[in-house]
């Protein structure tokens, strides 16, 4: 109370001395002065994509660019769906992504738990080796992986996109770190209660690891959905393409139908955007805990 009155009295004096400098606060954090322009820069391409996707081809080629279309041409979308096996690509991408996410959750949990809790000979060394693979760029292992997949007879099938991505060092690392933070007594109690190792993992550890599992799922989803390079070198048949690969077929050698390409882009990005908004905090946590991918 007394403090409040002192502040009330002090205020007019301060305003007289240095108007607007202290005592008055901005209605927003100063950071917003930086963040707002940055946000605009990031958003403009997205908005432009959205605008272009409902323009006519002529409008897209106009200079200076037309930002407000004369009419909303939603038929661009239907045309995309008609002229390309778009729904097939969407389905392929969905299959590949879902399988990768499921595979990562399952196998990284198993490996992460083993590294976190089971004592076995050479555990630390093996774990370090797994970690070390994170430092090897994909381009380096691309060709060996290709050869293995070829031996498996999976080139130009969805299997080529799924099998190499069923588990990853990132997921193993992320989950191991998280599992180690869980109180060991819970697992000991479960052991005494008669649960097996696998039982403990599935009934005690995983239900308590929802945040880490969500993070891994979101990161894997984004990574797989947006992956372009690996599908490019393993898939040839239009029927087996993923969205990212299929979209390139809209870019012809001589002519690109920008409006159609953008309509297709919007459709392919929509699931990722929605997921990002829904699971933003897990996504950021994934980057924060690992400093990897994203």
């Amino acid at each position: 109370m007394s403090e409040g009155t002192i502040v009330e009295q002090a205020r007019p004096l301060e305003l007289q001395a240095a108007p607007g400098r202290r005592g008055r606060r901005l209605p927003f954090s100063p950071w917003h002065l930086v963040l707002f322009p940055t946000m605009l820069i990031m958003l403009v391409p997205l908005l432009w994509m959205l605008v272009t996707s409902v323009q006519t081809l002529n409008e897209t080629r106009h200079f200076p660019p037309v930002f407000v279309p004369s009419r909303v041409h939603l038929e661009n979308y239907t045309q995309v769906l008609r002229m390309a096996p778009f729904s097939r690509w969407f389905l392929n991408t969905l299959i590949v992504t879902t399988a990768s996410v499921a595979g990562n959750l399952l196998f990284c949990s198993l490996a992460g738990y083993a590294f976190a809790r089971i004592k076995f000979f050479g555990r630390e060394v093996v774990f370090l080796l797994v970690l070390a693979t994170l430092m090897i760029p994909f381009q380096v292992v691309m060709i060996p992986t290709f050869l293995i997949v070829k031996r498996l007879g999976m080139i130009d099938t969805l299997g080529a996109l799924i099998v190499p991505n069923l588990a990853g060092a990132f997921g193993v690392f992320l989950l191991r770190q998280f599992f180690r933070t869980l109180p060991i007594e819970l697992e000991e109690a479960a052991r005494i209660d008669g649960a097996s190792r696998i039982g403990i993992l599935f009934k005690i550890v995983l239900p308590l690891s929802a945040p880490a599992l969500a993070t891994l799922a979101v990161v894997t989803f984004m990574w797989t959905w947006n992956d372009f390079l690996w599908p490019l070198i393993t898939i040839y048949n239009e029927h087996n393409m993923t969205l990212q690969l299929g979209l390139t077929t809209f870019q012809g050698a001589h002519q690109t139908n920008t409006n159609l390409l953008m309509a297709a882009n919007v459709m392919s990005m929509l699931p990722v955007l929605l997921l990002f908004f829904a699971a933003q905090r897990y996504f950021i946590r994934g980057i924060a805990t690992s400093g990897l991918k994203g």
Partner: protein
């Protein structure tokens, strides 16, 4: 129900830490056995060895005559209550209680029956749908007990189960635990560093120090006849006063106190005087002069700290000692006495403290073992 037997058990942790050594102890069928000792004495490790959470380096552990060294915790049919309860946070109370039975593929109707029996016994009926986070400390403690109860195991292992409760609740739960054991008669091994719990709960107590068993016996026996200075100093609160002394011709002299004690060979000894054995002197009794420093009235009794001439025998029990702020000359020793509430001397007074020769403990000064 079962008998649990340790046979010369030794447990060494990586880094050569010997947690338990030469540990031999048999816990009778239906017995309430307390493992008590200062922290780091190996009592929890001993318990975990029975649970199967640790493997003994050597020696045997047997339940009902069957060696269980190589059995998994699951196959040992024991239940454990952890210090922090270790309730499964993502499960309701009901599922926490039922988990162990489900793992053992007990039919659903039996699970329901046993869970409801246990929850009624522990007063958890209204809480079955809650999660651990929505429970108070005492309720969590009960759920942890209930999880052990429903299993109807051969033995209960309790690892300091009351130490996370506030003082009032602890007293209440202590009584409930004792009652529960009376009713069920399940073999129980209870680890604690709290000697009040040790004295009140146990059929027998096993005092441990530095990984070794010091003494096993009924609480009162251990209190009355400690086998060595460690047990003497550890059991009892306030702790037994231990004064250096010399035995000669059937008498022991410590400071200005001379007590006649038969059957003590001549030499250096340590005299053990329980605080309640010290009384304002009546004539003719052996006595020591006592200078009162701190008086703590507790209502039903008065704890008095003060100095006498003589030297304390130091023994590390891990218990905190009452600190006497005043600086002491080397020839004085701080001791503690326990008086009736009517006797309340003022700090600074000098008085004679009488000693009953029959209640004096005598220890060998070199080995610490009890002479009488």
């Amino acid at each position: 129900m079962a008998e649990v037997r340790f046979e010369n058990v030794r447990k060494v942790f990586p880094g050569e830490t010997v947690a338990v050594d030469e540990f031999t102890l048999t816990i009778q069928d239906g017995e309430f056995m307390i493992l008590v000792g200062p922290s780091g004495c190996g009592k929890t490790t001993a318990l975990r060895l029975v649970a199967g959470l640790e493997k003994p380096t050597s020696g045997e552990i047997a339940i009902d005559g069957r060696v269980i060294n190589d059995l998994t915790p699951r196959d040992r049919d024991i239940a454990m209550v952890f210090q922090n309860y270790a309730l499964y946070p993502h499960m309701t109370v009901y599922r926490n209680l039922a988990f162990g039975l489900k793992q053992r593929k007990v039919p659903k109707d039996q699970i329901d029956r046993r869970v409801s029996e246990a929850s009624t016994m522990l007063g958890l009926d209204d809480l079955l749908k809650r999660r651990p986070a929505q429970l108070s400390g005492g309720q969590r403690q009960r759920v942890a007990m209930g999880r052990a109860l429903v299993r109807e195991p051969k033995a209960f292992l309790l690892d300091e189960p009351l130490s996370n409760l506030d003082a009032k609740l602890r007293v209440q739960m202590r009584a409930e635990l004792k009652q529960l054991h009376h009713r069920l008669g399940i073999t129980t091994i209870y680890v604690t560093h709290d000697q009040v719990e040790a004295m009140t709960l146990g059929d027998r107590i096993a005092v441990m120090s530095a990984g070794r068993l010091q003494q096993v016996g009924a609480p009162q026996d251990v209190y009355d006849h400690p086998v060595n200075m460690f047990v003497a100093a550890f059991i009892g609160s306030p702790a037994m006063n231990l004064l250096r002394g010399t035995a000669r011709d059937g008498r022991i002299t410590a400071g200005d106190l001379t007590v006649p004690v038969a059957g003590v060979p001549d030499g250096e000894v340590v005299l053990g005087l329980r605080p309640e054995g010290l009384r304002p002197s009546s004539d003719g009794q052996p006595s020591l002069e006592f200078e009162v420093q701190v008086v703590e009235p507790l209502g039903d009794e008065v704890i008095v700290h003060g100095t006498v001439s003589g030297q304390l025998a130091e023994i590390e029990t891990g218990e905190e000692k009452a600190e006497i702020p005043a600086g002491l000359p080397g020839s004085r020793a701080v001791i503690t006495a326990r008086f009736d509430p009517q006797v309340r001397p003022a700090p600074g007074t000098r008085m004679a403290l009488g000693v009953v020769p029959e209640r004096v403990h005598v220890f060998d000064a070199r080995t610490g073992t009890a002479i009488r």
